[in-house]
């Protein structure tokens, strides 16, 4: 029965990690006193190294592989608790929703960069395509949910303009093409008067079957509805991304990323797979952009700059390239940290950059390393049971 004891210890450790993380995250979102914030960040860093020392990331990976239900419980319940705790805090809820939206966009990038190896430095531009589509269409008599879907669709369509140059170039050159597009897009928005120019556009509130998202939900902050919508969107996109990874599709995308020559020699149509990943990824980013614009209520070209594209890429790298789960803690760090550190003014970017560098030096594979593909839950365990 020693094995069961070991499992019990692992579960307790993970439960403890999850509890402490939840407390720290909620405290971090609510607290405004500078000293306290500093202390929380210190505790967070300390906790990370202790967890690393005890091999928690590896254990999380293992439990996730073997018992996804238990694992999801340790994620879903803290999130619900955190939301309930923060239900009156506009800022905290806004942050949670932003994290979920950025994580959704980064799942799109995971498909492109993580699985297929397509570097897309125009993430914010596709976020913007989704956002502006929503801004233009919400005032028409189209259901709001449909409008967000159209935002995603539009991002996918605009993305297809880039497909030809992306397919014809490789590596750094493909990255340059997307950088050019990102810069071009922002300039286009600034000079285009029908899209509001530099001032941007106002967006009517999001309505869902008569429920107005800009009205307080159940006596809480009005951001609560957006938090729920953003988390649901993230969940759906997350599940689709995981399903793609755990199927022949994910295998083909990996083959294209790892070695195009070998992939061609085994009949894989490189261009077709790149187009699939690029388009689907942009669709996800566009969806995220649409909801983001709805939540902001007002968008301008400055929301979708090249710096935002870099933020998206750094979330993917920090989270662990190719691990959809990693983008969630990574977007929390990258989105919330600079906002909460406003009391040290511009030094926050310095501190923030140092933190990112430290994580990458001590954990170059990112917060959560991508493991081997397991096609289904019992994958790889049938053989062990036989022996």
């Amino acid at each position: 029965m020693k094995k069961q004891d070991k499992y019990l210890v692992t579960y307790c450790e993970i439960l403890l990690t999850s509890t402490i993380t939840t407390i720290l995250v909620v405290a971090f979102l609510i607290v405004e006193k500078e000293m306290l914030l500093g202390a929380i960040i210190g505790l967070g860093i300390l906790g990370f190294f202790i967890a690393k020392g005890r091999g928690i990331p590896h254990k999380i990976d293992q439990v996730y592989r073997e018992h996804p239900c238990v694992f999801y419980l340790t994620i879903v319940s803290p999130v619900i608790i955190a939301i309930v705790f923060c239900r009156h805090e506009h800022f905290a809820l806004f942050m949670i929703a932003s994290v979920a939206i950025y994580a959704t966009a980064c799942l799109g990038l995971t498909l492109q960069l993580g699985y297929t190896g397509l570097t897309n430095f125009a993430g914010a531009a596709f976020l913007g395509v989704g956002g502006y589509t929503v801004a233009v269409l919400t005032n028409q008599s189209i259901p709001n949910v449909l409008v967000i879907l159209l935002g995603g669709l539009m991002a996918a369509i605009i993305g297809s303009l880039l497909i030809l140059p992306v397919l014809r170039t490789r590596g750094h050159y493909a990255a340059l093409v997307t950088i050019a597009f990102a810069l071009l897009f922002k300039t286009f928005l600034e000079i285009n008067d029908t899209l509001g120019g530099p001032q941007g556009l106002k967006i009517a509130s999001f309505k869902f079957f008569g429920l107005d998202f800009n009205e307080p939900l159940l006596g809480s902050s009005f951001y609560l509805s957006y938090v729920i919508a953003a988390l649901l969107l993230m969940l759906v996109v997350f599940i689709i991304t995981r399903l793609i990874e755990k199927s022949w599709l994910g295998l083909h995308l990996d083959a294209v990323r790892l070695d195009e020559t070998v992939a061609s020699c085994f009949g894989i149509n490189i261009a077709a797979w790149k187009i699939l990943a690029f388009t689907l990824g942009n669709f996800f980013i566009g969806l995220a952009g649409g909801l983001y614009a709805q939540m902001l209520g007002h968008i301008a070209p400055t929301n979708f700059t090249f710096a935002d594209s870099l933020i998206l890429i750094s979330i993917v790298i920090l989270g662990g390239i190719g691990n959809p789960l990693g983008v969630i803690p990574a977007s929390f760090l990258i989105i919330v940290l600079p906002e909460k550190l406003q009391f040290i003014q511009e030094y926050r970017f310095l501190l923030f950059s140092i933190l990112v560098i430290l994580v990458l030096v001590y954990r170059p594979e990112g917060l959560l390393k991508r493991g081997l593909r397991s096609f289904y839950r019992t994958w790889g365990r049938e053989r062990k049971l036989e022996n």
Binding site: W248, L249, H252, D259, C265, G267, I268, L372, R373, Y376
Partner: protein, 258 residues
């Protein structure tokens, strides 16, 4: 007379001013094991790259079972039944042995989005079939490999990686297998074991045609029925190893004798 599998006529590949392969002719019949030898830079790998469609051919033709494949894409050439291994191992190190093997049969995988994302139970049944198929090919090549099927490639030894690469090329049941210097980076003992496995394959699939690039002459002597010697992109000799090794041109190419 054996049925002809692969027929190469006047194959020429140029890179700018350099003629890497010049007017190469040869035939490969069912069950043949043809050795391709020559000093470094003599065009052996170029020949493989040209046959598999990675390089454009300047002239000449390649026929597989009398079907013209000279200007087909690498993808189509694979679908027609030619697979290969690479001189520098080209396995996906971060992926599992199973992933690496199953990609070898990519042409038979169902890649519709609907099937892969929404028909998970069907997909799961399909994956289980592929697992059996992968175990079968490993058992066929070397049963000791089966236990490693869920392992990442990075954990395997050099010889096992080579074996996996050959299994990846064999899993789609090709009619022609091109082996590009499989002994590179292996010890003498490993090479010997590997060649024993290769001979097993030949016995188990008598119709498979194999072309083997090899530097180790004792390997060539032991396993091939016939060999071709290349030097500066030209074929300078063809025949069984004993004839070829005593050929004057061949000695000149290898030893620099006049």
């Amino acid at each position: 007379m054996k049925t002809s599998l692969l027929q190469v006529e006047g194959l020429t590949v140029r890179f700018g001013g350099l003629t890497a392969l010049s007017n190469l002719d040869f035939k490969l019949g069912e069950g043949d094991l043809l050795g391709l030898i020559g000093p470094n830079g003599s065009g052996k790998t170029t020949c493989f790259n040209a046959i598999t469609g990675l390089y454009k051919k300047n002239s000449g033709s390649v026929l597989l079972r009398n079907k013209e494949i000279t200007h087909s894409s690498p993808q189509n050439i694979y679908r027609n039944g030619i697979t290969r291994t690479f001189q520098r191992l080209r396995l996906a190190i971060g992926l599992s042995v199973f992933d690496n093997l199953v990609i070898g049969d990519a042409m038979h995988l169902n890649t519709s989005i609907y099937f892969n994302v929404f028909r998970r139970s069907n997909l799961r049944a399909d994956i289980k079939n592929r697992l059996e198929q992968a175990e079968e090919i490993l058992a066929f090549f070397n049963p000791k490999l089966i236990d490693n099927i869920y392992q990442p490639i990075g954990k395997l030894s050099m010889i096992d990686r080579r074996r996996i690469e050959v299994c990846r090329a064999l899993i789609s049941k090709p009619s022609v297998l091109l082996l590009d210097e499989p002994s590179a980076g292996m010890t003498h003992e490993e090479t010997r074991d590997f060649m024993t496995d290769l001979m097993e394959i030949k016995i188990k699939t008598p119709k498979l045609g194999v072309i083997l690039i090899e530097h180790e002459m004792n390997v060539i002597e032991r396993v091939t029925d016939r060999c071709i010697v290349l030097s500066y992109g030209k074929k300078i000799a063809e025949g069984d190893y004993r004839d070829v090794s005593t050929n004057k041109d061949v000695r000149a190419a290898y030893l620099g004798e006049d």
